[in-house]
């Protein structure tokens, strides 16, 4: 059967990627699982025997639960914000025929060319208690006291949205560009005004991009380390900073591994849900 052969060719073409994923991703994650089942012994680290204690603690202890919920919540809000800010931008970039288009694209990509730490320090300079934003707010009389813009949810939200916006925009531009203009024109001749064309044609046809952009930004957000570490400070923790701390400061490898496994499972569940949704959309389309 020709289709069978096609499948094998596909597998052949995918195999470099599959091998890379196997050795660089699946095996390391799988290696975490045995570690996560070991008890922690203060001073020496990984102890003997097996225990589910780290998982039980991660999923019941209010300290850990709050961090997990905060991380997932941050993921959702950052995704939503990048989508809301990024979609109009991507639409303009994809549809514009102006000669400024390339400059605008460059402007969107520009933050990616700067070192992450530098960008984050930039935000610290802006958001700190005596930072630029607070100085302006007080100078303009919009605030009496300096606002707390760092070491909390707001700070992480601002920093992460800024950092991951380009990813969302680039994914959306590619998808919107692929929507044939004639399909939108057809809707117009059939009596659809600008908003009806957008809601009935452009938006549904860009759904796959919205989905993949959202998954990308969500996964990047909940696994981001540097920005939460710098903008969240030592006390406002997310899962990635917690894992970092467990591994490198407390040398509690088992607890860190358990947390890492939990995070991986959350990501996998979301990707699975996303592909399920995409498949349902495709079945309709």
């Amino acid at each position: 059967m020709p289709e069978r052969r096609w499948d094998l060719t596909g597998l052949g073409l995918l195999s470099p990627l599959l091998l890379l994923l196997l050795f660089a991703f699946l095996l390391p994650v799988a290696a975490l699982i045995p570690t996560s089942l070991r008890p922690y012994v203060a001073g020496t680290g990984v102890g003997e025997g097996l225990t589910l204690g780290h998982y039980a603690k991660a999923l019941t202890d209010s300290f850990y639960l709050e961090i997990i919920l905060r991380t997932v919540g941050l993921g959702f809000v950052v995704t939503l914000l990048t989508l809301v800010i990024g979609y109009p931008l991507a639409y303009v970039l994809a549809r514009s025929t102006s000669r400024w288009r390339h400059w605008l694209t460059l402007l969107v990509v520009f933050p990616l060319l700067l070192n992450l730490v530098v960008r984050t320090f930039g935000w610290i300079a802006l958001l700190a208690r005596r930072g630029l934003v607070n100085q302006w707010l007080i100078g303009l009389g919009l605030a009496e006291e300096p606002l707390r813009l760092m070491f909390n949810f707001t700070g992480l939200l601002i920093g992460l949205t800024h950092i991951f916006l380009p990813f969302m925009v680039l994914v959306l531009v590619a998808v919107i560009q692929n929507i044939p203009r004639e399909v939108e024109d057809a809707a117009r001749t059939l009596g659809a005004g600008f908003w009806a064309v957008f809601a009935r044609v452009t938006l549904p046809l860009s759904a796959p991009g919205i989905l993949s952009g959202s998954i990308l930004v969500f996964v990047l957000t909940i696994s981001a380390l540097v920005t939460p570490r710098l903008l969240g400070g030592p006390t406002y923790k997310v899962m990635s900073t917690l894992i970092y701390e467990q591994f490198l400061q407390l040398l509690n490898w088992p607890a860190g591994s358990a947390m890492a496994v939990v995070m991986t499972l959350i990501v996998l569940a979301l990707i699975l849900l996303g592909t399920r949704l995409a498949r349902r959309w495709e079945a309709r389309a």
Partner: protein, 357 residues
């Protein structure tokens, strides 16, 4: 149904003029073809009528009302795109229902009218399919049903048949004409295929470089082309340059390329340089009747069998080469000596002012 009137319609892209002052009046229920080579501006004209391109100058009137500045979604026209432009995320039913939903037609009526439209294009039972599950011809018919279901005032078709293969194209051509006549809808279609234009349209507008060169009934455009471009574009034609040597009994005697003597009906002063058009099928082979004004002995330089017809390249003494098309009941082989003949009325004397074109 409505009349359409274009007045001095013009569109420029930078320094390039895509459409340069097109005037055209289309009667109610008439089917008009805009035909011309690619880049002649015909699609731009169609899109300006639809409101998808804003003209730089001129007016579009539909049913006597000026709609030049009206947005596309308020014009109530049906447009079938060359690419069909079906909504890939919607079923056939929803594709056809799209325009009705925008007009807030009640659900029961939508069902009835969509079924009617699909019956009209013979696609009953395809309601639940998606565009990607349809063949090119079926997509074409969905696009047609989608365009006519809203009972538009004018139907616009952009190269409606060019994406179909030859057999299907002939069948769809008949379908299209049947549909247009049964609905009695004013229709403007764009094509680069002169044969399609001639067979389908009530009137044909031949365009070149943003201008209309000639408008007329298919037969009129074919028999009496306004200039060398139209003569060359519509039908298969030999174009000959000649000099008038004398006139008698409303006939002109001319000296053609290589000094070949030619006789054509018409009037021109002696010494005038003129251009003549001779259709391939008007040039006949075999024994000439006594009234044939042009009779030449020729050699068959090339012969190509094309089913019912045979195509020939003939070489006359003096080196003049003419193309001919004759029924293939008598096939002349390459190298054969034949008598080629045509009457004084078979050849068309083209107006002098466009002889340089």
């Amino acid at each position: 149904m409505a009349t359409v009137s274009l007045r001095g319609l013009t569109k420029r892209y930078g320094a390039a003029v895509a459409v340069a002052g097109v005037d055209l009046a289309i009667a109610e229920s008439e089917m008009v073809a805009l035909v011309g080579p690619s880049g002649c501006g015909k699609t731009t004209v169609l899109r300006m009528i639809a409101g998808l391109i804003e003209p730089d100058a001129g007016q579009v009137l539909i049913g006597g009302a000026d709609v030049t500045r009206a947005p596309a979604h308020k014009r109530n026209l049906g447009l079938v795109f060359q690419s069909y432009a079906l909504f890939p995320h919607l079923s056939v039913f929803e594709n056809v229902a799209f325009g009705l939903r925008r007009r807030r037609v009640p659900e029961a009526e939508i069902g009835r009218r969509v079924s009617q439209a699909l019956a009209l294009v013979r696609l009953e039972g395809f309601e639940g399919r998606f565009p990607r599950q349809l063949s090119g011809g079926q997509q074409q018919r969905v696009a047609l049903a989608r365009a006519v279901v809203t009972e538009p005032r004018v139907l616009l078709l952009d190269e409606p048949l060019s994406n179909l293969d030859a057999g299907l194209r002939d069948a769809m051509r008949v379908e299209l004409r049947r549909l247009q006549q049964s609905l009695g809808i004013t229709t403007i279609f764009v094509t680069h295929d002169q044969e399609e234009a001639l067979t389908l349209a009530d009137r044909v507008a031949v365009m070149r470089a943003g201008r209309i060169e000639q408008v007329g009934a298919p037969q009129e455009v074919y028999e009496r082309p306004a200039n060398a471009f139209v003569a060359g574009f519509v039908g298969r034609t030999n174009l000959l340059d000649a000099v008038v040597v004398g006139a008698a009994d409303a006939l002109l005697h001319l000296s053609g390329p290589g000094g070949v003597p030619l006789v054509v009906r018409g009037a021109a002063p002696p010494g005038a340089r003129v251009r003549l058009a001779l259709r391939h099928e008007k040039l006949r082979l075999g024994d000439a009747p006594p009234d044939a004004a042009n009779v030449h002995l020729a050699e068959v330089a090339l012969a190509a069998f094309a089913g019912a017809q045979c195509q020939y390249l003939l070489r006359l003494p003096g080196g003049l080469e003419l193309q001919a098309e004759a029924p293939s009941n008598a096939v002349f082989p390459r190298g054969a000596q034949v008598t080629a003949w045509w009457t004084a009325d078979d050849m068309i004397l083209l107006p002098a002012e466009t002889a340089d074109a």
